[in-house]
């Protein structure tokens, strides 16, 4: 096995092996468990850095292993995979730190961190899948690994959320499998290739390909929370805060969105998908989801539920970017995959901090929270402004590219949708900020649990991760064009690299 074959496996192993070891650890071995977690997260970052340097220099990393005649478990770390991997690896580190602080002295931590690592492993597998078969394997693994996390608290309410989550995702998986096997039966393999495997198979009957597209998008659309398949997401909010953060920013919804990207670009090929009239309906669904999610968010009093509906809306930005036929939209969609992750994880970290420190779960309880927890509220503000697309935040960068993409594709209505969504986001985020900063705090907080120590308004492991990700939200915008030698280091630069490779040198911006 060469180094280029071993690296993708090492990326998988760097969370799988610590995860399996953690399952075997007794509950009280806190130190060793923490060390394993951090070792895995940091080792993964180092591996990802190597891959980033290699891929931008044009190296190919791939590994395959035959499972059945004609069916391979195939991994490839291409530019698109790395976009998702880097996001997951970085946010995994922060979420692990946060979770260590969040779950201090809670029961069943070995189980929690074990499944947590499996969840990241599955995400890595999804990102690096070289064919639909491999994608499906890890896609379902992700469902199974997240279920115990969602129901971690073991209450009947948690179980209800978990059951709804399972019902949606297993059904989605079944539909996806149907599409995949059908495709396999038609063309004999399911490889992802740049430009799309089907683009050279115009001889196949279009109605079959369209049905396959529909089945696959329905399947991954459940995790991407496309309306009307989004019902599980607000219900899954019963999970502990680090799980919500991971589910929303990195793992589950992104797996769905990433699946859509792969299916459109590398199974059908964006031009062939356009030819089959598949992109316009997809754009419509995405636009509807964006507006519907924003509208619903505005009416939620539960803070995490409001954030959940905001996710429903924001993830469809990615889908919309993909469905806008053209490189500008592609860049906007891909860069939002990363930007939305950073911003949303900040918001969930902050929501967790309010809940853990003061017992605040509802928007209406947030009055004056900014005075008691200024740093958390500052981070929350940055995240919220980013979601609205305010200047100097990552959100503004994605939105600008998406709007350009919509204009270039001649879809003026999509620009309108994006503006409407910005206004609606302002409508549901600004009241929160207003309450937190400007209203007087109540006489007593709902259930204060963590006392402040000087500038440290809550436990430091809870405080630092949101501050870092908030800083990253700003940095991603300020340094958007930065590159390190020839290696693109910002999400935007990397998304442009992918778009250039996807559309060819022909019309790369």
């Amino acid at each position: 096995m060469t180094a280029n074959e071993a690296l993708p496996l090492a990326v998988i192993a760097s969370s799988l092996l610590p995860g399996l070891a953690i399952f075997a650890l007794p509950e009280r071995r806190v130190g060793l468990r923490t060390a394993l977690n951090l070792f895995g997260a940091i080792a993964k970052l180092a591996l990802v850095a190597t891959l980033l340097a290699g891929v931008s220099a044009g190296e190919a990393y791939a590994f395959r292993y035959a499972v059945l005649p004609g069916i391979d478990l195939a991994f490839k770390a291409d530019a698109l995979a790395l976009l998702f991997i880097t996001l997951s690896a970085v946010l995994w580190l922060f979420t692990t730190l946060y979770a260590i602080g969040y779950l201090e002295k809670a029961p069943n931590r070995s189980r929690f961190f074990g499944f947590f690592s499996l969840c990241v492993t599955a995400t890595m597998g999804i990102a690096m899948a070289g064919n639909l078969f491999t994608f499906f394997v890890f896609y379902e693994l992700l469902t199974l690994a997240t279920f115990p996390l969602v129901v971690h608290r073991g209450t009947t309410q948690a179980m209800r959320g978990g059951t709804i989550y399972l019902a949606y995702t297993l059904f989605g998986g079944t539909v996806l499998l149907t599409g995949i096997v059908w495709l396999f039966a038609l063309i004999g393999h399911t490889e992802f290739t740049q430009g799309g495997v089907l683009s050279t198979r115009a001889d196949l009957p279009p109605w079959k390909l369209q049905s396959i597209f529909l089945l696959m998008i329905l399947g991954v659309g459940v995790k991407a929370a496309l309306v009307p398949l989004h019902g599980w997401l607000p219900q899954a909010m019963v999970a502990p805060a680090p799980v919500s953060a991971l589910l929303h920013a990195v793992a589950v919804v992104k797996a769905g969105a990433f699946g859509i990207v792969r299916i459109v670009y590398e199974v059908f090929g964006v031009e062939f998908a356009q030819l089959l009239n598949l992109l316009f309906p997809l754009a419509l669904v995405a636009a509807f989801t964006i507006v519907w999610g924003s509208l619903r968010a505005a009416f939620q009093d539960d803070l995490k539920k409001r954030l959940a509906f905001s996710t429903v809306s924001q993830v469809s930005y990615i889908v919309l970017g993909v469905a806008l036929f053209g490189p500008l939209g592609t860049i906007g969609g891909l860069v939002h995959l990363v930007h939305q992750g950073i911003m949303k994880i900040t918001l969930f970290f902050c929501a967790g901090n309010y809940a853990e420190t003061l017992g605040i779960h509802k928007v209406s309880e947030l009055n004056g929270a900014g005075r008691r927890m200024p740093l958390t509220t500052l981070a929350f503000t940055v995240g919220a402004l980013g979601m609205m697309g305010a200047p100097l935040t990552a959100g503004a960068v994605s939105k600008a590219w998406l709007m350009d993409g919509a204009a270039a594709a001649g879809m003026g209505w999509a620009t309108g949708v994006l503006w409407l969504s910005s206004l609606l986001s302002a409508a549901y985020f600004l009241p929160i900020l207003w309450r937190a900063w400007l209203l007087a705090p109540p006489k007593a907080w709902p259930t204060p649990r963590i006392a402040p120590h000087g500038w440290r308004e809550t436990a430091w492991l809870l405080l630092l991760p949101p501050l870092f990700t908030a800083a990253a939200t700003v940095a991603a915008a300020m340094l958007a064009e930065l590159s390190f030698g020839t290696i693109p280091v910002t999400p935007l630069a990397w998304a442009r690299l992918i778009a250039a490779r996807e559309y060819g040198a022909l019309n790369a911006p």
Partner: protein
Amino acid sequence: MVWLIALPLGWASLTVLLGPRRGAWTAISALTAQLWLAFELAQTVRATGTVRHAVGGWGAPLGIDLAVDGLSAAMLLLAQGVALPVAIYARAYFKVRSGHPGGVWFWPLLGFLIAGLNALFASADLFNLYVTLELVGLAAVALVAAGGGAPQVAAALRYLFATLLGSGAYLLGVALIYGVYGTVSTATLEPLLTVEAPRLAWIAGLLMLSGLMLKTALFPFHYWLPPAHGGAATPVSALLSALVVKASFYLILRLWIGPFAALVDRIAWLPAVLGATAVIWGSWHALRAVRLKALVAWSTVAQIGYLFLVFPLLGDDRIALHAGGMQMVSHAFAKAAMFTAAGVIVHTTGRDAVAEVAGVASRLPVTLFAFGLAGMTLMGLPPSGGFLAKWLLIEAALARGRWDMVVVVLAGGLLAAAYTFRVLRQAFLLPPSGERRRVERRPIAVLEWTAFVLAAASVAMGLRGMEIVQLLDAGT
């Protein structure tokens, strides 16, 4: 090859003399040796094709012919591979129930059962197959009855009735075939049985098929299975569900693709329709089962249904055959794992109701993990062996445009998820706080880990599909 039959017969008799304690060790060490023998045999078959042996130097048509091709070798390997962990489980299981009458009889009966299974998988003539089938059936009935209580004996009697009726029908069929053709060797019969075969041969085939379907507990002949499998001692349930029902299915498959290949096209829809009904019916009952072991037993009814779906899909591309083989192998491991895991839960909590397993997730994590992994195989979720079986089955169905079967397979997977998670979600719930302290026993590590090993094996099949397919194809 002969050792695989002679050895278990030998230790079966020996364990009667040695008593349960030393008998258990004898059985476990002999099974280890058998596993190795089966493995060697599989290697030989893969390398050189079908291995034949004429017992005592007398070949067919006079003597007893043994023949092991890829399918047989896979089944032999499967039988030893499941029996060894279950035997280790059984030793610990019966040790803590020193007064349990089943513990005394378990070891000799296990020996006869394994000998019967191995002989069945290696036999190449219809009459021998009948003898081995009878041996397997009687040993299995005795194992159920050895549970002791009145419900077990009642279940065993029902089971006995079903198995005798089944083998009776089979024997009648064999007799008719012998009457028409004057031979019972499958190899000799193969060119004789053509589409122009006399009506008597058709009747014989149908008799044999229905007898074997009864023994495999295919819907609507499944009525005897849930009480027998759900009520027996846990290691017995595991063996019955994992191996015994597979034996008669193996026989159907063997005859279907062998001597009767020319006759079966016209009735291929029959087992498939019954199988599809079994998938739905069994899953439905598993969803409603009150007792944990009953749930697992009904799941067997459903999973057997999948096996019968392959018949209309069998063809030159062998995909359906691979699907059937994969499903047999992975279901055997998964179901043994699920029964053994359920046994640990019942043993530790002292309760057998699905509704009462709350809190098991934190007290028996290994067992629950085993249950979950086994469930993964049953649902057909990747990366398990069950997933590959499901994939192949859908592929074969699509290749013939059978969308109806695709729907059955997928719906069956969702139903399996529903009944598996019925248990898992209970297990993850916090135990009700106000409840008085339960009578609980300490978990036994050997029991937990054997369940886990079986479950892990069923999942690992999903990564070694290539080897299994190659073995199934060997010697054809």
